[in-house]
Subunit: 339 residues, 2 copies
């Protein structure tokens, strides 16, 4: 059901029945290391290219979610997935192996929220009993595609962010059976608009994306009539240090204080000063792995009960920036609650 300006209420409360997560070696050294299903020592994941490794990350995350929930892949009706690579090849080739009817998405680093909104929409409406939502990114494939070849050894400025090597997948199911009723539920979704405040610095994506998160958060709170403090955790995807500061400050000016409940997946996955990851983690795989590996487990053990996940994406390309365009951004919000 539509409520307010742009929010969907999922009256049949689809559940997140299981998650799968996998990260790379840099994330293995980070504070959340112990929470991921799989932590890799090899950035190639046994493949002969970074792109093939990234595709395998998605497959692995999906298979972890299926195995842990003892669900047969044949019982998954649709999968919603995307990534940062040109033509979303990480997802496309992963789905060639998985053989699930597939909706390919591109929302840059907002893709994980976008996928969860669509999967929940399908389950809530009765189009499916089980859907998978997933996203991935890989530091090495992203660097050479968006920035410069790794071999060049260029330095990242302090405002720059570090693309997460990782993937996360959620298994979203209907909650008609009573025995499934204790799982975390997707209750609301607020899909975002494209917001562009004129930022052109690719090494300052947090600043470009913060206004999109701002717009989606105020819309979500207005549409649902909720106060920011309703949530135990309002977690953005990859605003990093600078973007998070901008978001909190702008919301404060608007009369909303999220400072006590806010965190950012990009700040949670790395110890930025110790690991030299500059302003924090980024990439589709950032919110995907942090939600699937860490936040979901906290929802399961009830140490978190009301979470608003807002994955944030910057929709530019090297070509659009080269043509003098600024960075348009988007943020999609999903409420996940124990109710």
């Amino acid at each position: 059901m539509k409520i307010g300006k742009q929010t969907i209420k999922f009256e049949n409360t689809p559940i997140i029945r299981e998650c799968g997560s996998v990260v790379g070696p840099k994330e293995k050294s980070g504070p959340l290391s112990g929470f991921f299903d799989t932590v890799l020592d090899d950035v190639y994941f046994g493949e002969d290219s970074f792109e093939k490794a990234e595709s395998k990350l998605i497959q692995h995350a999906v298979n972890m979610a299926l195995n842990k929930s003892k669900t047969d892949i044949k019982d998954i009706e649709y999968m919603f997935s995307g990534d940062l690579l040109n033509q979303c090849i990480s997802s496309g080739y992963a789905l060639r192996e998985l053989q699930i009817p597939f909706f390919g998405l591109y929302g840059a680093c907002s893709t994980f929220s976008e996928a969860n909104i669509l999967a929940a929409s399908f389950v809530n409406a009765g189009y499916a009993t089980n859907c998978i939502a997933a996203a991935s990114s890989h530091f090495c494939s992203a660097e050479r595609q968006f920035r410069l070849p790794l071999e060049q050894g260029t330095q990242t400025p302090p405002t720059g962010q570090w693309t997460v090597t990782g993937s996360g997948a959620t298994l979203i199911s209907n909650s008609k059976e009573d025995k499934l009723n204790h799982y975390p539920k997707i209750t609301y979704a607020t899909p975002g608009k494209v917001i562009d405040m004129g930022i052109t610095d690719i090494a300052n994506m947090g600043a470009a994306m913060a206004p999109a998160a701002f717009d989606t958060i105020i819309t979500h709170l207005e549409d649902t009539g909720r106060d920011a403090n309703y949530y135990d955790l309002i977690v953005t995807g990859d605003l990093g240090k600078l973007g998070s500061e901008i978001l909190i400050e702008q919301l404060q000016k608007y009369g909303i204080d999220i400072s006590h409940v806010h965190n950012d997946c990009g700040l949670m996955i790395f110890d930025c000063s110790a690991q030299d990851t500059k302003a924090g983690g980024s990439g589709c795989g950032c919110s995907a792995s942090v939600f699937s590996g860490f936040i979901y487990k906290k929802l399961l053990d009830k140490s978190l009960n009301k979470v608003l996940l807002i994955s944030t994406g910057a929709l530019m390309s090297p070509v659009s920036l080269g043509q003098g365009e600024s960075i348009p951004s988007i943020a999609h919000a999903v409420a996940i609650e124990n109710i």
Copy 2:
């Protein structure tokens, strides 16, 4: 409601209330010229790059659909859109101007069907009253991204296809008001799986995509219990001459004869021999503009009443082909009917 293996039945029969279409100069010389809302003489559409022109194509198609239906853009709740460009910048920048909550898609040339399935899913479920589905492509931006710079003047082999410069947009609305009941309705959707039969020739995309169309068509017919002859028109997106022949032959071997009801948007938009467009048109904009410009008008005037649209997409990238991968493909089917 889910029926059969992977088909959705839209019980609330969302309508296609209006379409907008725009094409470039090459398409202007083609057989469907008189059906498009706007035909351009300038491939730049007044912009300073092909990519900016393509983004303007999407905006224009959406605005045409809104203007023709006298719908305020503020009444559009969600838009589903995608294109072929890296990071889908054509859609991303278009949505910056349109300011509609946005789901970015990547399904290569299957994107137009994918967008219509998702928009119809949202309207059917009551998440929205009005949604837009759209897709675009541009010959010049696609050539330099996927193949070679135009300035190089390379020739296309006979099996190669010609990317359509164009965009199409559908306005999908609920049909609760009786006065809207005469519009064409979206009745069923069969989202496709990724199929890869090992084709590696980028100049023979029809052959790569035909097996995906085959898989989706037989699944659709089995799921719905319909015979191929139920439809007045089974129209693929951009299989072109060779891909269409393969599809018809493979279906015949399987005991299904679509030869009398099949056509392909890539064969409809160009007079291939007179216009030297080799095996036919292709690109996200191909099925988008042919459906929105031509087929929809035939549904409105009842010369067509039962149409199955199967946009077909090849999910490779220049990087994946360079790494020795074959071309994975996907086809999404949407049934549009006067009922």
